[in-house]
Structure formats: C-alpha cells, structure tokens
Symmetry: C2
Subunit: 461 residues, 2 copies
C-alpha cells in the first residue's frame, strides 16, 4: 500500500473558504469517516467536506486535484469492504447532505434524486404516489452509495440490481468536470454505456452526485410466506423450479439453521430450526394467490413443510425486518465478537453445493459462520464471527474466506455478488478476471490518471 499523502495547508484553506464550517477536521468527523461497517481497520481522512450540491462537489474535487490530494466519496458509511477508508489520507467527500428528491414522474415511472437520498427516504415519498424503488440491500444506504457499490438485495430476483434500475447519473470526474450520463429514456443505444460503467466503480472513476432511477408501481397485493425444508438442497431446488416455471417471485431468501437460531433469538420469532425460505409475491390479488399456490406445490415436492403466511402488512414487516436485521442477529450469536460479512455468487445450480461445502469447511476450521442468501440470484452471505484479539482465529477466518472465494470461482461464480471489491477482494478480482483487470486498469488510468479518486480500492496500488 502506498503511503498516506500529507495534506496541503493551502488546500485546507481553500476548502474552508469554499465550505466554511462544512469543511471539518474535527476529531469526531474524522473518526466517523474513517470506516464503514466492515471488518477493515479504520483509516481516517485528513478532512471531511460536507457538500450540498453537485457544483460544490465539483469544486472540492477540482481543489483536491490541484493539490494532488485523494478524494474518498462517503454516503451513509454502510458499505462492507472498506470502501470509505481513506487509506492514503485526503478528503472524505461527504454527500449525505445532498438529500433532495428532485423530481418524481409517475407517468414515466422514474425519478431524479441527489446522491445523499437514502432508499427509505425515497420510498416514503414514493409510497404517497403509489410507487416504489425496489432495490433493497437491507441497510438504509444512500442511493449514490448503492450505485457506486453496484448494490442489489432481496428483490433483485424480480426487479434487478442497481445496474438495471439506474437510468442516468450526474458524475464529477477526476478533474472536477460535471458530466451527465444516460438520461430519462428507459433504454438507449446511444454510445458507450457510461452509466453502467460508473455503477459499481466504487468511487474510483468519478463521484456520483445525482441519479435518475427507474421506479415500479406498488403492487396491488403482497403476500409473504415462510417455509422450512428437510434439506438445503430441497430449498434451493424449490427455487430453481419456481424460476423455471416462470413464477415471478418477488423475494426468496434462504436462511440456514444457524441463521434461523439467530433471527429467532434477536427478532423474537419461533421458526423451526431448519433450512428455511422467506418468500414474497407481488401482483394482483388473484395472481398472488396463484403464485403462492404454485410455489407451495413445488415446495412440497422438495421436502418443504407448510407455508406460514403473513398477508397482513405488520406480520410481513416483522418478517422482513428480521431478515434485514439478520447481520445484527448473527453478531448477537457470539456477544462481543467482531463480524466479517462476505458474499459470493454462483450459478444457481451450484448454490446448494457451494453452501454445503462452505458450512462444512467453516466447521472444520472451527469457525462460527452462519449463512443466508438471495437464493434466486445464486448469491449468499457468510458472516464470520471472531474474537478481535485472537490473531490465530482471524487467520482461520482469512483462510475460510480465501477458500470460499476459490470455491465460488471454480463453480463459475463471482467473488462478490453485491458487496463490491473495496479493500477486501482485490486479489479475488485478479483471480476472477485475469486479463480483464488489465482492461479495468486502462479505464481507470484513462479517467483518473493521477489516481486520486478513492485510491487503494478495487486495484492493488
């Protein structure tokens, strides 16, 4: 890792002149911008710039570029691979005050928001107009951060990931220019797809300041169910067959026995201790009923027990809140332990095998590592729980993570389905993409020749 770059007093004066009190070097602001929710060590920035507009963000980037100072975009700080750590120092560019919802267009099913709007904030507004933004990673992340990380989540099986739901962006480039990508059209073949290039680029190619998002109508009817299975394979096979049968499942989440223990304890549920699917169906009253009945029949053929229904919104909310809080629930399985959440994605036909081998491997390494996943996407999470002071145990976690990634890649999968590369998966990216990483580096070099945008992430320095 290249050393930290000493910040220039002239830069700090200029940032103070630009932003006043909104440029901060207070210990509280520095510390709260030194890390995300991951296991990675904190790396404090030298200052934090709280911007309120695209123009201010561009001005900050221009000043930093003049002074050859790194810029690390910061949203809600909910990322999990060290994306916001200022490993080379510099300025944390905090976009969380850019909270304006700029437009909502029900006829076009789209909206435009500033990057600091969170998904829950947006959905509260959209709901008033019968609309929703479906991408749901669990955390109340900012939409700018979700785009930068290439986030997805529980509803991706039906509605797609950020990549499929961002129509256009406003981006500040490494030299401080403001560029609009994409637009309001629902599709386009007009030139290179800059929008999708910035989505998932983790702040290393530009700073996302505004987003044009595709929306969905709120479904007329929603129904959720929980179903326990005799085996993990049965649960996965059920989902495979449901997708092959073109049932438009809106969510289908898999929890292993350890995860069921965790959510039972943390969210006061009484689910049987077995591999379990949380399912949700969206549609008209009759189509939801039909989807549920077809799914129930398929589940029964694969060792699924009874469907426990939650057609009432408060029951549904309780169920999905339990799922969303699963990471905290898992951490509570071992009080005081540090959590290391990771994710991989494989072709769905390999999912049961990949999870089984992973659980066995973690067991043989003596690790507590519950598993839950977005089974319809072939994507699952492992939450390693370890004693922060125990270097030997941390070594075993590293080994388990290394083997998990190798296992997923050998099965034709990817080293991360939705967490991104950040600091934690740089070697995995190389193992996965080989020569492709050279192309990524060429693009990085072309768009950020000085390497000032979120340095140390995605690529080895």
């Amino acid at each position: 890792m290249t050393a930290r770059i000493e910040p220039s007093p002239a830069l700090f004066s200029a940032l103070r002149a630009l932003l006043g009190e909104r440029f901060s070097v207070s210990p509280y602001d520095i510390e709260s911008h030194a890390r995300d929710e991951s296991w990675h060590e904190p790396e404090p920035p030298d200052g934090v710039a709280f911007v309120e507009s695209t123009e201010e963000a561009a001005a900050v980037v221009r000043l930093c570029a003049e002074h050859h100072t790194p810029i690390v975009p910061f949203g809600a700080g909910t990322s999990v691979e060290g994306h916001v750590q200022a490993v080379r120092g510099g300025v944390s560019l905090d976009l969380s005050r850019m909270k304006a919802i700029l437009s909502i267009e029900p006829d076009d099913l789209d909206c435009r928001v500033q990057a600091g709007v969170t998904r829950m904030q947006l959905n509260r507004e959209l709901e008033k107009q019968g609309l929703m933004f479906p991408v749901d990673p669990g955390a109340d992340a900012t939409l700018g951060g979700m785009a930068a990380t290439g986030a997805s989540g529980t509803t991706t099986v039906r509605y797609g990931a950020m990549r499929e739901n961002v129509l256009g962006l406003t981006v500040v480039t490494a030299d401080g220019r403001i560029v609009k990508t994409g637009g309001r059209a629902r599709k386009s073949s007009s030139g290179y797809d800059l929008t999708r290039l910035f989505v998932g680029s983790e702040g290393t190619l530009g700073v996302i300041t505004e987003l044009q998002l595709r929306l969905q109508p709120l479904p007329e009817a929603v129904s959720s169910a929980v179903c326990a299975f005799e085996s993990l394979d049965g649960a996965v096979d059920c989902v495979v067959e449901a997708l092959q049968s073109a049932i438009p499942v809106a969510r289908c989440e898999l929890l292993d026995e350890a995860s069921i223990d965790a959510v039972n304890g943390y969210s006061k549920l009484d689910l049987p201790r077995a591999p379990t699917l949380f399912l949700e169906f969206h549609g008209t009253q009759s189509s939801v009923a039909e989807q549920a009945e077809l799914s129930r029949a398929i589940a029964a053929q694969h060792g699924g027990g009874e469907f426990r229904w939650s057609a009432r919104r408060e029951d549904r909310d309780k169920l999905w809140e339990a799922r969303h809080k699963a990471y905290y629930a898992l951490k509570a399985l071992r009080p005081g332990a540090r959590g290391w959440p990771t994710d991989v994605v494989v072709p769905i036909s390999k999912l049961a095998e990949c999870i089984r081998e992973t659980v066995a491997d973690c067991g043989s390494l003596g690790l507590l590592a519950p598993v839950l996943g977005h089974v319809g996407d072939g994507n699952f999470h492992v939450a390693f729980l370890f004693d922060e002071g125990d270097a030997e145990e941390l070594g075993r976690v590293r080994e388990a993570n290394r083997r998990l990634i190798a296992r997923a890649l050998a099965m034709g999968g990817a080293c991360t389905g939705e967490h991104g590369v950040g600091l934690g998966k740089i070697e995995a990216l190389e193992a996965e993409h080989g020569e492709g990483v050279e192309l990524m580096r060429k693009i990085k070099q072309a768009l950020d020749p000085e390497g000032l945008l979120n340095p140390g992430k995605v690529f080895r320095d």
Copy 2:
C-alpha cells in the same frame, strides 16, 4: 473522414496462410461486406476473413494490428446505421460461421453461444427445452451483432434489452488478446462492468466472439390482441396506465395509420385504419386472461375499440410476422423508393407528443414517413421513404431526421433507442452527451490507441 488505408500485401499473405480459402478478396465477398441494411453508401473492405473460432479471430486481429490495418466485425449485416461499412478499408472480420451453441443450462436459465449464432437459430434449440431468449429486434441478427449494437425490440418492455440479458462475453481486444468478461452468475459487483461496456460499443472497443446469455422459461400461456384507438394519445395513455398498474405486458407495439396501411397491404391483414396497439401477454392461463381483461378495460377508457384476439399460435405468428416485416411493408408503400430507417427514444409521457410532432413535421416537408414503435419503452421508428436519385428530397429527409433527433433530445430522450450510432448519429451523440463523449473517447483511446477497431463509427475521426 480520414482516407482509406492501403492494405499491405504481407498482411494478406499472412491471412491467407492462417485461413486459406477463408480469407477472401473475391468481388462477391467484398461487395456483400460493404454495407448493412441502412441508407448509408457501401464502403468495401479490402478483404474478408471468415473465422471459425475465438483463437482465429484473435490471430486475425493480431495480424491486422501488426500491419496497422482496420478491422470491421461483421455478423449478419442487418444493422441500420452503417456499422459494417469499411470506411477506412481494411479487413471485414466475418463471425457468421461461428455458429456453435456451446451450452444450455436449464437449471441456471443461461446458455453460452458463439457470436455468429442467430437469435432464431438459438430459439429453435431452446424451445426443445422449454426455454427462450427473449430479445427480438425483428431481423434474424447474430447474437454477437445484437450485443455489439445494444439491440432490443418488441419484448424489451417485459424482458429487457441485450444489456440486461448478456451475462458475460469473450472479447478479442485491439492487440489481439482474448479476454473474458462477466461470467455465469446472474449478478455481480466484482469490478468494473466490462460486459456492459462492450455491449453497445459497436465493435469499436473489441470483437465479441462468445456470449453468455440469460434465458427465460417459455410461458405456459401466450395471448395476443390487436386494438385500434380513436387517437394516438389514447393508445399511448393506455400503455402508460397498463404499466402503472403493473400489468406485465410482454409486447406492446404501436402502429400509426400509414403503418397500418402498409402491413394490411403487405401481410394481407384487414386492420382498421387507425392508431393501433399490438399486444402480447405471457403467463399462466389464468394470469394471461387477467392481464388481458385488465388491459381491455384500460383501453376502453382511452378510446380503444374491441380487442381482436389471437390465442392460436398460427394467428399470433401471423400478427408478429406482419410486425417484424413492417419495414419491408413500409418500403412497399412506395415501390422503388430507398428506405432510411431511424429511431429515437423519449420518456413515455412525451411519446404521443413526439410522434404527433414528427408526423406533422414530415408532412410539412412533403415526406412519406410512417411511424411504428415499441411504445412501452418510449421508443419509435420512422421509415423515411425517398427517391434515391432525388438529392433535393434526400435533403428534406436529412432535415426531418435532424429535427426528429433534436425533438427527442429536447424531451429528455436519446438519439437512438436500439439502432446505435454507427455512421449516422455521430453528431447526434455529441449533441446528446456533451462532455460525456469526451469520456467515451478517453475509453476508446485507452482500449484501442491506434484506432483500428471499426474506425469512423461512433466518433468523428
């Protein structure tokens, strides 16, 4: 436009040594690779290389790179903005013999194909396994060409465009290296999205030789309907309301009166002369019936007449074949005329206004220019029909096209929804993206520094 580059005899000897008879300079092969289906003038390559594998394609590119000779990828030649014209000479790299379907995985709903496989060839194979590849641009294009152009079509409203349906690619880079992008996972946040960068790059960043494609199960039930409307606005408003009501319409095509005349004449139909929607619904028997009934009720509120149903497959096929052959039908409206097909895309709330103004504008310019469109995407086509020998009329077509693009951009749309930039929309791209084109140029420069991959397309030389 930069001048043509004189081919090197040494290159031709090397290509002959590599490919034998499959490197051709015959007048027939040269002429048949000089143009696509567009109005753009033919530009013959100096030779045509018929490759049969990724390795051969890479070897051809390496040889051309050594001799600083342009490479123009060629699939089925069905593009419509001059994408395959060899404006600077060089070698047409014909991938149409790469016709192997490498794998079909029903459990994962994916397949891998060589770039020369056409969509109809693929769908014939998939149908045997109850699967389909939904992207349907009308022409029986190669899948490599469809990816390169960023194609979409009649089913995009439900299933997405190529961008949403390509999981990964094998690409030959400008220096002849073979790079795999993406993979088999249904989603990924592992590094920059090279797959989506190559999709829609029109052969200017690399040569696509293999594709990993996402598949859909064949729907249990399919139902098609035709509905005539009192007004264009009524037809568009009907679709807006259907989408807002979350009806998962599988296809919804709009034909104006002139287009109805054309398909009636060409495909022996007897549709009333009025703005008309062709609709299709996919699902279970009962959900298709429900979708259709909901749509009928919405149509009735917007001046729609009776639904004429085609639940029988042969009737449906006749209807969609008529839609697919519409371009030929339109050309038959004026025998002997040259056709200039173009497309733009706007936010759907602007679609009726954009079409109305376009029809009026073409009328005021004295042009015959029927309109049809993928109304659910806000995307429509205009087919200008003009006398090839009449320079004055061609001038009016150019003016109408220029105004059409300006109108779409002013409404927040894009200069092309699915045809691509090619030779014909280079200025439009600049008008649409401004500074964004600079970023695209930087990427082009980074990945193809000598500018040998499909030169003269997308950017001004």
